[in-house]
């Protein structure tokens, strides 16, 4: 598309282009943003959520002051290329293929759409595997990742973060299990627990494990590639408990309620842990200059209440942050 044309007609086009966003990822791009008054975009959040969200329309006005902060190449390109690492298995309700069985939806892509609207950009989505998402950002194929990526010190060596959400953790067991968690890690002694590797919940679990070992007890920790495999392990009795992000656990509990092996939430724990502060952030290539405008856009959405509407639509209000920060302190680089 021509830069000149864009410059002449940005307010109108920004909205118009959103409506005709072209598909690029395997799962395509959601096009639920309707043209509205010049310079504003109506972003529909929570659609096709398979029961995880309540649909809502949020009208966003483009903020030219924030748009001015964008790196020139992105501003003139007019597109915000968003990487999502939800292949092959998604992680509902955060990022997943929706109930039409083809469209990428979830809280994370929705926030990306809101941020893009604030910045007057057209969002496109590349859905890839978790690892390829980072390669996409590294290679410049994608500008930013919105995919429940935790801000860690190690990642900050290569990426800039604009934080936008907190983590809460949930314990999932079979409904038939009587185990429950009330805040004391001793309840986990002798149990087999699944956790995703490289996450803050893993770090918490490992801390508990080493504490239990000093008391002569233990936790058996198992790793699985995705939530499907975890669920199969849970239903077949290979593991007793799954510790994961609470939204995902809650979604699985709702979805399996009518299946032969329903699950339940057996307890919650703060993703911040005892000593750790886990934050989810939009992830950009280091020094690309994109983290600050995104953080400012999120802060704009927080201040005008749209951020709250977005979280409420996805039933994630307990995970709200007060402000978005660029590169806040994250999980320490090593586990030792």
């Amino acid at each position: 598309m021509s830069t000149k044309l864009l410059r002449l007609a940005v307010p109108v086009l920004a909205a118009g282009l959103l409506a005709s966003a072209c598909s690029s990822g395997a799962s395509g791009t959601k096009t639920d943003s309707a043209p509205a008054a010049a310079g504003t975009t109506v972003v529909r959040v929570g659609s096709l959520s398979n029961g995880a969200a309540t649909e809502a329309d949020i009208t966003v006005a483009q903020q030219d002051a924030l748009r001015a902060e964008l790196p020139a190449a992105i501003r003139s390109g007019g597109t915000l290329k968003v990487a999502v690492g939800a292949l092959p298995a998604g992680f509902p309700p955060l990022a997943f293929v929706g109930s039409d069985q083809k469209t990428l939806t979830g809280s994370e892509p929705d926030l990306a759409r809101l941020v893009a609207a604030v910045l007057g950009l057209k969002p496109t989505f590349d859905n890839a595997t978790w690892d390829n998402m980072f390669v996409g950002i590294d290679s410049g194929k994608d500008a930013v990742g919105f995919a429940n990526i935790t801000d860690t010190e190690q990642r900050k060596q290569k990426y800039d973060f604009a934080s936008y959400r907190e983590d809460n953790l949930g314990f999932e067991t079979l409904k038939s299990s009587t185990w429950s968690f009330t805040g004391d890690y001793h309840a986990l002694a002798g149990k087999t627990v699944a956790v995703a590797s490289g996450t803050n919940q893993e770090k918490i679990l490992l801390e508990w494990q080493s504490k239990l070992r000093t008391e002569g007890k233990d936790i058996t920790i198992k790793y699985y590639p995705d939530s499907n495999a975890v669920l199969l392990a849970l239903t077949s009795g290979k593991i007793d408990i799954y510790l994961g992000p609470n939204p995902g656990v809650a979604y699985q509990v709702t979805q399996t309620s009518k299946s032969p092996n329903p699950t339940r939430i057996a307890g919650e724990y703060s993703g911040a842990g005892e000593t750790l502060q886990g934050l989810i952030g939009a992830t950009t290539k280091k020094d690309s200059g994109l983290a600050k405008p995104i953080a400012d856009a999120v802060n704009y959405l927080i201040q005008n209440g749209d951020y709250g509407k977005w979280l409420a639509a996805w039933n994630l209000s307990t995970e709200a942050v007060k402000t978005s920060q660029v590169n806040p302190p994250g999980l320490p680089a090593s586990n030792s």
Binding site: G25, A26, S27, N50, A86, L87, P88, A89, G90, F91, P92, F96, V97, G98, S99, Q101, K102, D126, N127, A128, T129, D131, N132, V135, D138, S139, G140, K141, D226, S227, N228, L231, L232, T235, Y251, Q252, Q255, T256, S257, K258, S259, P260, N261
Partner: protein
């Protein structure tokens, strides 16, 4: 034919009266073990099928819902598309590699050998990941004189759609295996066939096309079909290049519908069984046609 030189007397035939011998019926050896084994297997199989049909764990109702859903058929189509393209391109590449490997040119022979060695050593998944990340290594592909000026430049990201990347990855891998299959097939044609062709003065291309290839195919087809079945299942790795084949769609849908993980896996299983059965059927048919002319 004249190796048993012992006369009849020596092995004692004359010891019994002749008419008794003629009247004696030979009772075949009984195999009670076979009957017991049969009974055990039949009971176990019946139990398994009964369990499969009645255990609510399998959720056959949901299986029916998913079996022909558009999302599954889209994945199936991708599987078929990638398999078909890679099978053809892989075979073509394999023929070229095999001929290079069998040629008298030491450079061609070595290059072919190295290629086959490399791609048989590297796991397919690594090939796919490297290809997918190609854009991180080389941002553009250019067309032009090697080491010289380039005429066209492609932005790799636009050039390589997921389907293209997946097909190239699988074809590169497939060609290495196909080369060995084709080479084995060509070598299975006896030296005498080539000598007879040469002695008759048959033109070289005619020798290859009408004498060597048809006979080589008899060895190539069964081996390549096995390879093809592996390829069908190998396509389940293409989600690594963001392409959702049958199994990729099943995984995606499993995460959106966690209650249906098991029926979705069964749907994938059923489709893979159907696909490989169709391929085996085609193999049977082709082999029967190629066997025409062998000792009846």
């Amino acid at each position: 034919m004249s190796t048993s030189a012992e006369p009849a007397e020596a092995i004692g035939i004359t010891e019994s009266p002749h008419r008794d011998l003629a009247a004696q019926r030979v009772i075949p050896l009984r195999h009670p073990g076979r009957w017991i084994a049969t009974a055990v297997v039949v009971v176990l199989a019946a139990q398994f099928v009964h369990g499969l049909a009645t255990n609510p764990f399998y959720q056959w109702g949901r299986f029916g819902y998913w079996f022909a859903r558009p999302v599954i058929l889209r994945g199936l189509w991708v599987t078929l598309e990638v398999t078909a393209l890679s099978a053809v391109l892989g075979l073509l590449g394999g023929v070229v590699l095999a001929l290079a490997r069998l040629s008298h040119n030491p450079v061609l022979r070595t290059v072919s050998w190295v290629y086959i060695w490399l791609f048989r050593s590297v796991p397919l998944i690594v090939v796919l990941l490297i290809l997918f990340n190609f854009s991180a290594l080389y941002r553009t592909l250019s067309l032009g004189v090697p080491f010289g000026p380039s005429f066209f430049r492609f932005d790799e990201n636009k050039l390589a759609t997921e389907l293209v990347v997946a097909t190239i990855g699988l074809s590169l891998n497939e060609a290495a295996y196909a080369a060995e299959v084709v080479r084995g097939g060509i070598l299975s044609v006896g030296r005498g066939q080539r000598e007879a062709s040469a002695a008759l003065g048959l033109p070289r291309w005619y020798q290859f096309r009408r004498i060597v290839l048809p006979q080589a195919l008899r060895a190539i087809v069964p081996a390549y079909v096995n390879q093809l079945i592996g390829l069908i299942k190998g396509t389940s790795l293409v989600f690594y290049v963001s392409l959702l084949d049958l199994f990729g769609q099943v995984q995606t849908m499993s995460s959106t519908y966690p209650g249906d993980v098991v029926p979705l896996l069964l749907v994938a299983t059923a489709w893979y069984v159907i696909l490989t059965s169709l391929v085996s059927l085609a193999q049977y048919w082709i082999e029967r046609r190629l066997r025409a002319g062998e000792r009846g």
